[in-house]
């Protein structure tokens, strides 16, 4: 994919400062610092268990941290309560397992948060939702319930649901790992389109070709630490600077 003259801003949207996180006695994030700028697509790769999901989930505090600081567009992420909810609403999240609301129609899945959290009037929320659903190619599914849709369709709805909040950034935790192979492409296409439009994105993925194409920056995580970070994804994937990244990428080829 040709990124052309895409401009990544200098304005930080997400800042992680010296994040440490334990699960019991195991330290899963070790002094992780990472800044994501406006319009930037950051792809996080690394072996299973390296802490990619945990890192992604700490950004909107679905996972608490032991120490460090998380700043969203200049505001420090609070511990709990209404302010946390308000900041969360500015960061979208797309999960491996879609997590659509099982009892709600597709349209209502997309409108529920804008209506209740942002107080968007019903008519307007529905019009926006239909527009988003059409954009991700599931406009004709609006009146079904999630269980009636394929995995690929459900994941595209999940992306529309996140977009409906007009987020400052969207986090993707392995968005295609639960999909049948023939459906991976349709989801990656939507994400590529979003990146092209300038959405700020943090993506955890095992799809290396996609990562190479979409990333403005690649972060290689191993054992809870950022081992290598590169703003030149092509160079990183062709010839990583660290031995550990090289071993990881080589292992994937086989």
């Amino acid at each position: 994919m040709e990124q052309g003259q895409k401009i990544v801003g200098k304005e930080p949207i997400i800042e992680l400062r010296h994040i440490n996180k334990h699960f019991g006695s195991v330290q899963v994030l070790k002094d992780v610092s990472l800044t994501v700028h406006k319009g930037e697509v950051v792809v996080i790769i690394g072996p299973s268990g390296s802490g990619k999901s945990t890192l992604c989930r700490t950004i909107n505090r679905l996972e608490t941290i032991d120490s460090g600081e998380i700043v969203i567009d200049g505001a420090v992420l609070p511990q709990e309560g209404k302010q946390l909810a308000a900041l969360r609403s500015q960061i979208g999240m797309v999960f491996q397992s879609f997590n659509l609301f099982a009892h709600k129609r597709i349209l209502d899945n997309v409108t529920v948060a804008p209506r209740d959290v942002l107080h968007t009037p019903k008519k307007q929320a529905e019009a926006e939702a239909m527009e988003l659903l059409r954009r991700v190619g599931v406009g004709d599914q609006a009146h079904k319930v999630p269980a009636q849709l394929s995995g690929g369709q459900q994941q595209r709805v999940a992306i529309a649901r996140a977009l409906a909040m007009h987020p400052k950034a969207i986090l993707f935790d392995e968005p295609t790992s639960a999909l049948d192979p023939e459906m991976i492409g349709e989801v990656l296409d939507v994400m590529t389109e979003l990146a092209r439009e300038g959405m700020t994105m943090v993506i955890v993925t095992h799809e290396m070709a996609f990562a190479k194409a979409i990333a403005d920056r690649v972060v290689f995580l191993e054992d809870g630490q950022i081992v290598e970070e590169s703003t030149d994804p092509k160079a990183f994937f062709d010839e990583p600077a660290t031995e550990r990244a090289r071993l990881f990428l080589r292992a994937l080829e086989h």
Partner: protein, 219 residues
């Protein structure tokens, strides 16, 4: 006495008794459902004292015999300067107990919700109560229609407690003792009441099945 003779003589009273039972059942169930929802939300709330209080409530009222509770309400409350009418005493007993069961059914209905949906709700910026309202309760309620149907029947049977206090008009169970003391009703008087309870339970069951089929969540 034959059924016909009984019904000619006491038909109006049976109707009034049926009405009392229905009224108590409906009121109890509505109040129990409302209370059960509040208790359930407390049980899953992030505030520990609320959780403890609500768990305690369920433990107590799930296990207390209805008659014991009614006796407490009728005879013990006046010592605390609280005097309730007999009807209110019965209604309170037949609300407090089913509310505990209602909460238990809602809790198991909640277990059908995948944790991922909760995370999705939180990541969309919903507060705890918004998440409860939009995601948790609707699914818990829709997945517990059948147990709730059973609870409605159980609540109706619990309203037979009303026969233990002087109520006018009395309920479907109370009328059996009324007839026994005013005529030779014998087992027939009891059979009529039993038939009315059964018929109502069957109708409730059928309607419950219909509703369940309509609102069941596809997964």
């Amino acid at each position: 006495m034959s059924i016909t003779a009984l019904l000619t003589q006491f038909g109006d009273r049976y109707l009034a008794a049926l009405w009392t039972t229905y009224k108590l059942t409906a009121l109890s169930f509505i109040l129990a459902a409302a209370l059960g929802i509040v208790i359930t939300v407390m049980r899953i709330s992030p505030i520990r004292p609320l959780r403890i209080a609500a768990d305690l409530y369920v433990q107590v009222f799930r296990n207390i015999p209805g008659a014991a509770l009614l006796i407490l309400l009728v005879y013990a409350l006046p010592y605390l300067q609280v005097v309730l009418s007999y009807f209110t005493c019965v209604l309170t007993a037949t609300t407090l107990i089913p509310a505990a069961f209602c909460s238990e059914y809602l809790m198991s209905g909640m277990n059908t919700i995948s944790p991922g949906q909760i995370e999705a709700a939180r990541s969309l910026g919903m507060t705890f109560l918004q998440m409860i309202k939009n995601v948790v309760l609707p699914q818990a309620v829709r997945s517990s229609v059948l147990p709730m149907t059973n609870l409605l029947v159980a609540t109706m049977l619990t309203t037979a407690l009303a026969s233990q206090v002087p109520l006018s008009p009395t309920d479907l169970t109370g009328i059996v003792s009324y007839i026994s003391t005013h005529a030779v009703g014998g087992v027939t008087a009891f059979l009529i009441s039993a038939a009315l309870y059964c018929a109502t339970a069957v109708v409730i069951g059928q309607v419950g099945n219909l509703i369940d089929r309509k609102v069941r969540i596809l997964r």
